[in-house]
């Protein structure tokens, strides 16, 4: 079926056909025809953000918490350039989002017109793919193709740049079904490689599952199969920051997060294992530490839908390209058909070793005195909110790592954080995107005061759309992670790492019309958190915490997994030496 309509109408029609129900955006000259169409329909709800970066992060939060495509709509020039950070963030964390940008009319492109920027040029390296549509007849097809590319294979951000004259002109609408694309990434894994992995699993004495965000992206089936696999084999499992929740934190085989600020038992197990099964993770430098010393005695298998992730950083013995759910399904089939074998005796000894590491209790802290420890604040938040239908977003820094350590996730899509890019200012808009998708759920943004200030304007959005997001700010009046590195690496010279002239967060909350809560006494904390949870509306919670607390455990730069600094009485002098100092 083909139909004639204006480009602007096509945009709305294509989004409706793709099942989009929410668009986060900000109008401007070059997208006015699209905004005019949005005004005249009821299928799609538009959420007016306060800054284009907020629109993209909100779309990310929406996408990550639903498993669906997130959509943002911004104008040309500054609208598009403000979206760049969000696009890069989504690229590094493989979040499926579609960003629609307005562009100056085709006949003005290249003339340095008002609010003109080379949007496809600027965003080419920070999108999975992008398009400039110069003909209205191509517009609907391009949007359908963009939605396909964003969600197929390894998900990622896509951008469609639409000149204003293309929005005004009338063309033929192409339906979703009529779209043709050659882009279809491989989803089935090679059965020979899968069998090789099964054989390795049958004999391994010290096996370990190392899972990542790919499991979340693969969908619910992947999570179910992973849990079945772990239960059936009794192998221990750890996860990256991005993969938290795929295996429940309360599960028996859970070792906690691994990596630079990962748990002692998880990192030790990574170092000492003899079979590492990487499922949807990418050997990020936050995970591997120094590569020469990375898990030196293990056979390594890597399941990933992106062939370029394999052997990029770490050479593996058993590469399997495919979608996690498809591969795990075949893996389980092969393993069962070969008699469900594991080296039970070896694995049992391996657990004894792991339990010795666990007994160190690397997250132990002591809450004494009248100052709240950030670890204590998050432990209490966990205790008081874990029974709720809860979604957590974070900003970036120490609070983010503590949140990953002290909050438990039972399911995927419940944890939205900027992992790869480390974007301060991600959490507040992301919490808005999450709350838009889950109106009745408890959405908490765990923040540091410095990160939080980066996109605090989005409190206006939360108020306008009555989104009761809880901004839980661990306020140490410092750029905590920067300060920690300056302490460990730069002779305690705290260059520009304190938050001077902070606002009064309670008054700030009131200025927005939200509720402000301040808490500085550990004895008041529980009541204050309960007040935050039960308040029907957005809350800014200013939790004043210990100013110079360091985030441990920590694998210092240039060190191996078995060379961690632990908390409580850690010897931090000369923690980072030599070449490690040049690493970030």
């Amino acid at each position: 079926m083909t139909k004639a309509m204006t480009g602007a109408k096509m945009v709305v029609q294509a989004l409706v056909d793709q099942g989009v129900d929410v668009v986060f955006g900000y109008p401007g000259g070059a997208v006015l025809p699209i905004y005019d169409e949005i005004f005249q329909q009821n299928h799609i709800q538009h959420v007016l953000v306060r800054h284009e970066q907020g629109a993209v992060h909100a779309a990310e939060g929406y996408a990550r918490s639903t498993g669906k495509l997130g959509v943002a709509l911004v104008t040309s020039g500054p609208g598009a350039t403000n979206a760049v950070t969000g696009l890069t963030d989504a690229l590094l964390d493989s979040i499926p989002i579609l960003v629609l940008t307005g562009q100056v009319p085709t006949f003005m492109i290249g003339s340095d017109a008002f609010q003109e920027a080379d949007t496809v040029g600027i965003t080419r390296p920070c999108t999975k793919h992008n398009w400039l549509v110069k003909d209205t007849d191509d517009l609907a097809r391009t949007i359908h193709e963009a939605c396909h590319v964003a969600t197929a294979g390894r998900p990622g951000p896509v951008l469609v740049d639409i000149p204003k004259d293309v929005q005004f002109a009338t063309g033929t609408y192409t339906t979703k079904q009529a779209r043709k694309s050659h882009y279809s990434p491989q989803v089935k894994g090679d059965i020979t490689s899968i069998t090789d992995l099964v054989k390795a699993m049958e004999t391994a004495k010290r096996p370990l599952f190392y899972t990542g965000g790919g499991v979340v992206n693969s969908g619910d089936a992947a999570t179910q199969l992973l849990r079945e696999l772990v239960a059936a084999t009794n192998f221990p499992i750890t996860s990256t920051l991005m993969g938290l929740g795929c295996y429940p934190a309360s599960g028996d085989n859970w070792l906690g997060m691994l990596g630079m600020h990962g748990l002692y038992e998880a990192n030790m197990a990574m170092h000492d294992c003899d079979l590492m099964i990487n499922i949807g993770a990418r050997f990020d430098d936050r995970i591997t530490g120094v590569i020469e010393k990375f898990s030196p005695h293990s056979k390594k298998a890597h399941i990933d839908i992106d062939p370029s992730s394999i052997n990029k950083v770490i050479q593996v013995d058993i590469p399997i390209v495919g979608d996690i759910a498809h591969v795990l399904e075949d893996l389980l089939k092969v393993w069962k058909s070969r008699g469900r074998k594991t080296n039970a005796e070896g694995v049992s000894k391996w657990w004894d070793q792991i339990n010795t590491w666990r007994s160190i209790d690397c997250l132990k802290f002591t809450q004494t005195g009248k100052i709240i420890k950030p670890q204590y604040a998050l432990s209490r938040l966990e205790e008081l909110t874990k029974k709720y239908d809860r979604y957590i977003t974070t900003e970036v820094g120490q609070h983010q790592m503590w949140a990953a350590q002290y909050l438990g996730f039972e399911n995927p899509n419940r944890w939205m954080t900027s992992g790869g890019l480390g974007t301060m200012g991600y959490g507040t808009p992301a919490s808005i995107g999450v709350q838009m998708a889950h109106r009745e759920s408890l959405v908490i943004n765990v923040a540091g005061e410095a990160s939080w200030l980066m996109n605090m304007q989005e409190m206006g959005t939360a108020m306008q759309y009555k989104l009761p997001v809880k901004q839980f700010i661990l306020n140490n009046e410092r750029l905590g992670m920067v300060r920690q590195w300056q302490e460990l690496l730069h002779g305690e010279r705290y260059s520009s790492s304190w938050s001077e002239s902070l606002p009064d967060f309670v008054k700030l909350a009131e200025a927005f019309g939200a509720k402000g809560i301040i808490c500085s006494d550990p004895d008041d904390l529980d009541d204050a958190i309960m007040e935050m949870i039960t308040y029907d509306g957005p809350v800014i919670f200013d939790c004043l915490v210990e100013k110079h607390e360091n985030c441990f455990p920590m694998i210092p730069s240039g060190k191996a997994h078995n060379d961690m600094i632990l908390g409580e009485n850690a010897d931090t002098a000369n923690a980072i030496q030599g070449a490690g100092g040049a690493l970030v």
Partner: protein
């Protein structure tokens, strides 16, 4: 030990690109990349090389299938085996890329390059230039009383050699197309 004294195999400017001690032999590979002929595709391919720090020694591109809307890019690049594999995987990930072939490893192939040489001179040098051009089976495509433009087709080595010979004979300008390559057989 200086903080910036990073081990061999690492890049000096970033912690994100630390290479383990894999084989260090740098190999030269010719890649044939079939792409959709749409705006920005070449920029994507080149941007990938620039952004990830890979080398381009030669690059040619033109539409080869008008109906199918396909162009063929031939890139000569160099790197360790691991880097070459990574380049191919990264190229394969670009949405409008249909196919990536490594002509260096996928059986025998032929490589040709075309070059134009402008040589200015009089007297013996001029005669010698024409004589050498004849040996190289170069065509004269333009001539004045004081100059020739020679057209040479062949391997890059042949073109290098011709250029060396022309240098003392009054070589003033050179242009090369870069390598075009095809696999041998069917």
């Amino acid at each position: 030990m200086s903080a910036l004294n990073i081990k061999k195999g690492s890049t000096s400017h970033s912690a994100y690109n630390l290479k383990a001690g894999y084989e260090d032999t740098v190999e030269r590979h010719t890649l044939a990349i079939l792409v959709e002929n749409e705006p920005g595709t070449l920029a994507r391919v080149i941007g990938l090389f620039a952004g990830r720090g890979y080398n381009i020694e030669s690059l040619t591109v033109a539409e080869t299938d008008h109906h199918g809307h396909l162009s063929r890019i031939t890139i000569v690049t160099s790197g360790t085996p691991q880097v070459i594999e990574q380049i191919k995987a990264q190229l394969g990930r670009i949405v409008p890329v249909h196919k990536v072939n490594d002509l260096t490893v996928e059986g025998p192939s032929v490589e040709r390059e075309l070059a134009l040489f402008k040589v200015a001179g009089k007297g013996d040098a001029r005669i010698e230039a024409v004589r050498l051009a004849d040996i190289f089976r170069a065509n004269v495509v333009d001539s004045t009383l004081e100059s020739f433009v020679f057209e040479v087709v062949g391997t890059s080595e042949k073109i290098d050699a011709f250029g060396e010979l022309m240098r003392p004979l009054g070589l003033t300008e050179v242009v090369r197309t870069g390598i075009a390559a095809l696999s041998r057989g069917t």
